[in-house]
Amino acid sequence: MSRDLNIKVHHLTRVEGHGNIVVNMKNGVLEKAHLSIVEPPRFFEAMLKGRSFHEAAIITSRICGICSLGHQMTSLVTTEDALGLEISEQTRLLRKLLVHGATFQSNVLHAYFLAAPDFLNVGSVFPLIATHKDVVLRALRMKRLANDIGDIVSGRAVHPITPVPGGFTSIPEKGELLEIKRRLLEEALPDGLETVETMKALAGAIPQFERETEYISLKHGDEYALYEGDIFSSDTGLVSVRNYLDVTNEFVVKHSTSKHTRYNRSSYFVGALARWNNNQAQLSEEAHAAAEAMGLKPDCHNPFMNTIAQVVEIVHCILDSVRIIDKLIANGLKNEKPNQTPTRYGRGVGSNEVPRGILFHDYTYDNKGNIVAANCIIPTGQNLANIDDDMMKLVPEIVDKSKAEITSNLEMLVRAYDPCISCSVHMLNVEFIE
Amino acid sequence: MKRIQDVSEEEIKDLYYPTMCKVTKARQITSMEKWYELEMPASQDLGHGPGQFVEVSAFGIGEAPISISSSPSQKGSFELCIRQVGTLTNVLKNYGEGDSIGIRGPFGTGYPMESLLGKDILIIAGGIGLVPLRSLIHYVLDKREEFGRLIILYGAKNPSELLFKEELSDWEARDDVELHLTVDQADDTWTGNTGVITTLIPELDLNLNMTIAAITGPPIMYKFVIMSLKSKQLQDDHIYVSLERRMKCGVGKCGHCQINGVYCCQDGPVFNYSDIKPLREAL
């Protein structure tokens, strides 16, 4: 069948940041299918220049309000690596709790507010308030609890306050943590399991589409890697975080203010589905049961299933947060001061799994503790090439459908990646021109 | 020093609860000012003296000090006139007949009416300053034979800003009131005096021993008016001014209205000029 198709989705909705979808097919030959990023560039690397290590995390957390905690964590890890700052076991645990809270929050937001309207064929979550009030209330309840973890441990969920290089400026009270634990077990867990049921019911609306690709995430010896680990490629295995540039290989494309990346193939996938494919063995029984209920199998190659993998992670985060709180309390909460005395200056690299995938920061400090060079590589930027490759495969498969349906399928595909476009435009590995 | 033992539990009265008063009449009298007639619950009397003010309250917005514009001799109701300049005053614009407005007060010192008996009263009002002085004017008119001359100087920016126009023409018509109006900027309809209020003073023929001047107007006005009165040889203690300051509580607690060592809300707003002349922040 030879068809002409011209799709332009201007300012894609229900994603963070600005992107347009462009598809161009002439006589059945697909010329173009890509996500073009039009978010105004913000030049964070330039802004970081000359800034003190006290400010680096404050600034980089403003790269993205949605992943502010993720940026902050990666920034802190990077600064600590560069300046040789050791952190305590308590700091590590509190950070892991924060990462869980943020992942939980973000995944709920995406699954319920951004993706669910697609499955139910409505334009936003607001109509659902009338038709599915209990579901909306449940989502709000879960989000509130996830944000409360952020508020209590880090001062506020968006642009956290207390995490600083070397530790925390203030430590939560034991009673506050116990209350969070109670709510996790009594409210969040039942809500999480309900979520699995809801998603199971909606899973029928997920398109059957498969494209095997390279999956990249962190990997850790003892746990489902979120806060720390080495880089792992499903194609070629482990790479040290220090050598992240060997993995990312950024290049500029004309249709995007954001650079693309590639490693062993023309593109790779980062995010919940990559984490699932690479690390699912380290998930709890409950999380596996959830995955099975929603039809998520080990080695899944359907990008639309990323949302389902996120829901599995919700269950994981709830249960693992309880475990972390227990450990913090068993160790006894200490009113520690952050360790902010540098033992060296120079370059540091840090990486975390943030909800949308693997994130890298890379700073070089002068011996006054001010930044001379910085580079940040954001998950959505890493997914862009993969999204384009998916579109190139998907469009011919659905070319018989109406233009409206194709468009909505493509929008749904992009949304499944939970792209965070606002932050995907600040990442280039360029040295400052002195 | 006052001591805590000097007050008993029973003597302590609540300070911050307003009395809800019904608006019985209301009219927008210029583009900026609205006039209200209010009634206390159970036909109580407000019990104020000319020159005193109340704290007017609208829930959700806040409170503002507003002068009582009617004479104490008016029984059963009292009047306010409010210029719409900000948050609260603009919300009050929407209040009309039948609505309830919270009132605390009356607060502050009024004019010492006892010592004004038999005197010639010279009223000097600029703009909204007529509102508190109107209480004094009505009081004098109600007890006309107990006072000497009543001279009213009243100035506004332009003719459309003159308040209480009907009353002005009533006063104009009376031969026991000497009314002199002026506007800063005349328009086509205006046939009267043009110029700032001080231009009216030199022509006045005053009996210096008998005359008491009462001045209210924008902060800038006082200095010049007092200067003109002084050049007519009027003595300091024959001059009263009513001052405006920021106020929150109205009862000498919140500190906002302090003028050097005195509280405008308690020691004023009506001051004898000789008392505040040494206060550097007063005028």
């Binding site: 330039a46 800034r51 334009g123 709000l140 968006v158 606002s422 | -």
Partner: protein, 244 residues
């Protein structure tokens, strides 16, 4: 009829918008007062006219300029939310460097592919009726503005410094802890949340009217940081306002 409300984002992290979605406990109450007609981050719908348009983010490209004029034409009331929109916020830090250098830093040889302007406050391009400050804007502050608009009253302007709220909370002053803090010259309204969690105020709500910047620099240098460092601190959120 309920007022039609819309949200738009320009150059920003979208944290302020996210903070709105984080109003879990109040979201349903808010929807009783207003109709949300456009909110790209959360919905597909579009509308032509708005009673209130909330704007997040700075103006930083020629395309932004065009779009904000268009929104202004269609909005009765326009509110800038978050420091990016109110005064340029962190985005404006790039204005401290020559623009070509900035572009080259990030895009190298491809620097001319993407147009950029200095990062500007919304109010330097179109008339702004009200502001909600902060980075991110606080939910409390946003709700206060919304309720004020519903009641037809002037929203609070916050003209006292962060120190006032810090003192009312009886937080330990960071200067007594040997840290430096921008609370004295920063507009309050945040309930001094950062100092109350032991972190210095970064100045995210913008400067006070007539701040004593010399006095502030002196305080900071007396507390052990260099003048250069002190000035950088002040510039963090206020590059468009602080003139040194």
């Amino acid at each position: 009829m309920k007022p039609k409300v819309a949200f738009f984002d320009f150059t920003s992290c979208e944290g302020c918008q996210l903070n709105k979605l984080n109003l879990e406990n109040d979201l349903l109450d808010i929807l009783k007062h207003v109709d949300i007609v456009e909110f790209r981050e959360a919905m597909d719908d579009r509308a032509d006219l708005y009673d209130v348009a909330f704007i997040e983010g700075s103006i930083s490209t020629p395309a932004c300029v065009e779009r904000i004029h268009d929104i202004r034409r269609r909005a009765k009331i326009l509110v800038a939310i978050g420091s990016c929109a109110v005064n340029g916020g962190v985005n404006a830090m790039k204005n401290l460097h020559p623009i070509d250098e900035v572009r080259e830093t990030v895009y190298g040889d491809d620097k001319y592919l993407f147009a950029t302007l200095p990062a500007m406050a919304i109010s330097s391009v179109v008339k702004v009726d009200y502001v909600v400050r902060g980075c991110p804007m606080t939910q409390q502050d946003f709700l206060r503005l919304l309720i004020s608009l519903v009641l037809g009253k002037q929203p609070p302007k916050y003209r006292t410094p962060v120190c006032v709220e810090c003192k009312l909370r009886e937080s330990e002053c960071l200067y007594n802890r040997g840290m430096v803090c921008l609370g004295p010259i920063t507009r309050g309204g945040c309930d001094a949340i950062c100092p109350s969690f032991g972190q210095f105020c970064t100045g995210c709500r913008g400067l006070m009217d007539n701040p004593n910047l010399e006095g502030m620099s002196e305080i900071m240098t007396n507390h052990g940081i260099s003048l250069e460092e002190a000035q950088k601190r002040m510039l963090l959120y206020n590059s468009n306002e602080v003139k040194l």
